[in-house]
């Protein structure tokens, strides 16, 4: 027991060089700035936050709403400024808080745009608020806003490594399922569209290749954090990181995610490596490293205990959230209950088609809804396979038609007080054939949103 306790205390509070944290801060800021600029240049601000008339909010975050064009661009400008400031280590604490709030707010506007790597960035942004990454090689120390430190408590580094390990290991665990391992799904289908890749293209038509990639990918995810932690395997491990993410970047339209991982995992390299980087940067920017003030010893007692408990709490939450799907019945890939925020990356091939009907309960007449009247193509596509979004859209239709008078083409007036909403949804998972996804008789307007089991999802019998 004592040995474990000592190991944990060491892992948390022993002194480590600040260099890896500083390099991470600088690179993270630059990366986020570039990725935000890319986002804006692709016109996504308008496409995703201005053009839609309806937004799929997260449960409990219904108050998060997009601003108008001006407001959204101001929000994105503030986000970019915070990225630059983080990189420079300028007004660091405020900048990290601003970064976390802006980034997370944008992500919370519409779950259509949910991506695991955005969630990862939100989490890292949150962690950075509490990390002393500005205590060296920063404008804050240059202007003497904060004291200089050469050493930081070990947890400040290890929590980032932990976060990266969580991404990989849970992504790996998620792959340990029948479809991935024994059917090579969904890669077996996806790779066959890649036969025109240079060099490796001709291999893509073989099923063997899909199995190789599936098993290789799962093994990579499960082991890579440990390879990177081990000084003997670090270099080959990192080469694997570059190879793996490089390959996925070439093969799939996954934007900046591969690069984020390639850069972030540098934090596993030893202190000397990062010190070298800082030294070269100093030469580049011709700044002198003035006297380093050695770190003030961490106060014993209460403060340490509180720190340790909060870290433990964060770790427990990070372990629980991806596993919460176990609390639900049914096939996870089909129902997607507990699917988000769980590092399930490129795991399923799922396509859907949804038709909604608004019923007038008094006459039993029903109107077929044109989804595009309310949703963008992307929103419609994401909604059609995800039950919580299907329900949200049904509620939106309920609210739109509640207490309305409809003028029919033939002049007839139809008064609707409490519309009934049903949906006929077809979904195909892993190319095994589209089939009815939810009970098409159930009145969705009466179903409550929430974390309880969605018993109106039909069973997947493929």
């Amino acid at each position: 027991m004592m040995a474990i306790r000592k190991w944990l205390v060491n892992l948390t509070f022993s002194e480590k060089s600040i260099a890896p944290l500083v390099v991470f801060r600088v690179l993270f800021g630059i990366m986020m700035m570039l990725s935000t600029l890319r986002f804006i240049s692709k016109g996504w601000v308008e496409e995703l936050y201005i053009q839609p008339t309806y937004f799929f909010t997260y449960l409990g975050f219904d108050w998060v709403k997009p601003f108008d064009v001006m407001g959204m661009y101001i929000l994105f400008s503030v986000l970019i400024a915070s990225c630059v400031f983080i990189s420079l280590g300028f007004l660091y604490r405020i900048s990290t808080v601003v970064f976390f709030i802006c980034f997370t707010y944008i992500e919370l506007i519409d779950k259509t745009n949910y991506l695991n790597h955005y969630y990862f960035i939100s989490l890292v942004g949150f962690l950075l608020i509490f990390l002393p990454a500005n205590k060296s090689f920063s404008l804050d120390t240059y202007f003497k806003f904060t004291s200089k430190k050469k050493y930081v408590p070990a947890w400040t580094l290890h929590i980032i490594m932990f976060q990266l390990a969580v991404v990989y290991v849970f992504a790996g665990i998620a792959k340990l399922n029948y479809h991935w391992l024994f059917e090579a799904q969904p890669l077996i289908n996806w790779l066959k569209h890649q036969t025109d890749l240079p060099v490796i293209g001709p291999l893509m038509k073989f099923e063997f290749t899909a199995y190789l990639f599936s098993w290789g990918g799962a093994l990579f995810d499960l082991t890579i954090p440990f390879l990177l932690l081990n000084s003997r395997f670090r270099i080959p491990g990192y080469l694997l990181v570059v190879l793996f993410h490089g390959l996925t970047a070439v093969m799939f339209p996954i934007g900046v995610f591969p690069y984020v991982m390639i850069i972030s995992t540098l934090i596993f390299f030893p202190e000397s490596f990062h010190e070298k980087i800082i030294r070269s940067l100093r030469i580049l920017f011709k700044t002198k490293n003035k006297k380093e003030v050695s770190s003030t010893p961490i106060k014993e007692g209460n403060k340490k205990n509180i720190q340790a408990s909060l870290i433990a709490l964060y770790i427990v939450v990070q372990m629980f959230v991806p596993m919460r799907y176990l609390l639900y019945d049914g096939d996870l890939f089909w129902t997607e209950q507990g699917y988000r925020f769980s590092w399930r990356v490129m795991l399923i091939e799922k396509v859907g088609y949804a038709q909604f009907f608004v019923h007038d309960p008094t006459t039993d007449n029903k109107k077929l809804i044109n989804n595009r009247t309310y949703l963008t193509p992307q929103q419609e596509k994401m909604m059609a396979t995800q039950p919580d979004m299907i329900l949200q859209f049904a509620h939106h239709l309920r609210d739109t038609f509640k207490d309305t008078i409809i003028m029919e083409n033939n002049g007839q007036r139809i008064k609707i007080s409490e519309p009934k909403i049903t949906a006929e949804v077809y979904v195909s998972l892993f190319n095994k054939g589209s089939r009815l996804f939810i009970d098409s008789d159930v009145n969705l307007s009466k179903i409550h949103r929430g974390f309880h089991d969605k018993d109106w999802i039909l069973k997947n019998e493929n």
């Binding site: 391992l181 490129m346 088609y353 979904v427 054939g433």
Partner: protein, 395 residues
């Protein structure tokens, strides 16, 4: 290298484990698709994801589809419109009963040839907004009559889209309340009407010429040299997106759903005047031609001959897409056949059938509707095509 070595061993483990796993189940799973290379005669449970098919060559498929369907179909479309304009020209110089009959039959032939290319709704057709210019209905009879009486109009304006094309010709050639002799007299006495008729056929001819030329001179070679997998803007993505949206909106909805009233708000009252070729009184041959064209195109069948080479069906087989115990391509072909059968069971005029024999039309619509998820869900998923008009970060 390291990854490959590890992966290779894993593959062995995977196979061994899979063998172990399956040896415990007593009923034999296997490929039961008769078209596959490895059809297992002893299989009891269809596991058609294990089927394998012959070599599939995507560039070869694109070439086949382009050279043997798209180009000849557009050529035919162009020829039929040239013929239509020729007939209209000779009719206009000397309006006669025979001339009128000739114009009408070449109009039918041209409209049939349009059905066979209508679903190729991408590239040049999209650039020239072909579908909006050649076959919009319902037409605006007021605009047509105004255009004729004023004698000045610009058919290239989008505002005239519902006053031109095949459906405007439908109106002119089957003017309500006139018999054939009256109609010949009408054109004899109304030079404005005659020149409007000519302008309509000329407009169709020029549009078909433009699209055909574009395919022959530029687009075909781009189409065949596919270097960007099935991402947006790739030939496969364009073909599938065009096919799906055209089928859903202009065939299922436009030819049947709208007149049937399926989309008519709450009362869903029939709107028989919305059928294609309302004045001609024959809608079904055109609907059937469109479905048959789609079927040939999906199956890689040559436009002029029944020769069947690589098409989207082979691509779906190559990626092992299934639907129930069938391959997806079989399921789609079966559904297309069912649709044809249901259309054959109907009688023209469709506008009348909708009122007097509604259950049969609803039957046909139900089958047309069933094809939508097959195409939009199953086919797009199988071919790795995103049904969206926007790039995204994805993960």
């Amino acid at each position: 290298m390291r990854e490959k070595v590890i992966g290779f061993q894993l593959k062995q483990i995977a196979v061994l484990t899979a063998i172990l796993f399956f040896s415990f189940s007593c009923r034999k799973r296997g490929c039961m698709d008769p078209n596959a290379l490895n059809t297992d005669p002893n299989a009891e449970i269809a596991d058609n994801s294990s089927c394998s098919y012959g070599e599939f060559d995507k560039p070869e498929m694109l070439s086949n589809v382009c050279d043997n369907y798209i180009l000849p179909a557009y050529q035919e479309f162009n020829n039929k419109n040239i013929a239509l304009h020729q007939e209209a020209l000779s009719f206009s110089t000397n309006p006669s009963l025979e001339g009128l009959t000739a114009v009408k039959s070449s109009w039918v032939a041209a409209l049939i040839s349009w059905q066979k290319v209508s679903f190729l709704d991408f590239g040049p057709a999209d650039y020239y907004t072909l579908k909006n210019q050649v076959n919009i209905y319902p037409i605006d009879t007021n605009t047509i009559q105004n255009n004729i009486s004023f004698g000045t109009y610009d058919l290239n304006l989008a505002s005239n889209n519902d006053a031109k094309g095949y459906q405007a010709l439908d109106f002119l050639l089957h003017l309500p309340g006139t018999n054939e002799e009256n109609l010949v007299d009408y054109f004899n006495n109304n030079t404005n009407a005659t020149s409007y008729l000519l302008d309509l056929t000329e407009n169709l001819m020029l549009l078909s010429q433009n699209v055909y030329d574009e395919w022959v001179n530029v687009y075909c070679s781009n189409f065949k040299s596919n270097n960007n997998s099935n991402a947006q803007g790739s030939p496969i993505s364009n073909v599938v997106n065009g096919l799906c949206s055209y089928y859903e909106t202009y065939i299922r909805k436009g030819k049947f759903g709208l007149p049937l009233g399926v989309f008519n708000s709450f009362t869903q009252e029939e709107m028989p005047h919305l059928v294609e070729c309302y004045y001609y009184g024959q809608s079904l041959p055109f609907a059937k031609a469109a479905i048959e064209g789609m079927s040939d195109f999906i199956n890689g069948v040559h436009f002029d001959t029944p020769e069947n080479r690589l098409g989207l069906d082979d691509y779906m087989d190559f990626v092992g897409a299934t639907h129930g115990s069938n391959t997806l391509s079989t399921a789609i072909n079966n559904q297309l056949e069912t649709i044809i059968t249901k259309i054959d069971a109907l009688n023209d005029p469709l506008s009348n059938e909708i009122l007097t024999n509604k259950p049969s039309v609803e039957d046909a619509y139900t089958e047309l509707q069933k094809l939508v998820p097959y195409l939009k869900v199953d086919m797009t998923s199988a071919l790795g095509v995103l049904i969206t008009y926007q790039d995204n970060d994805g993960d």
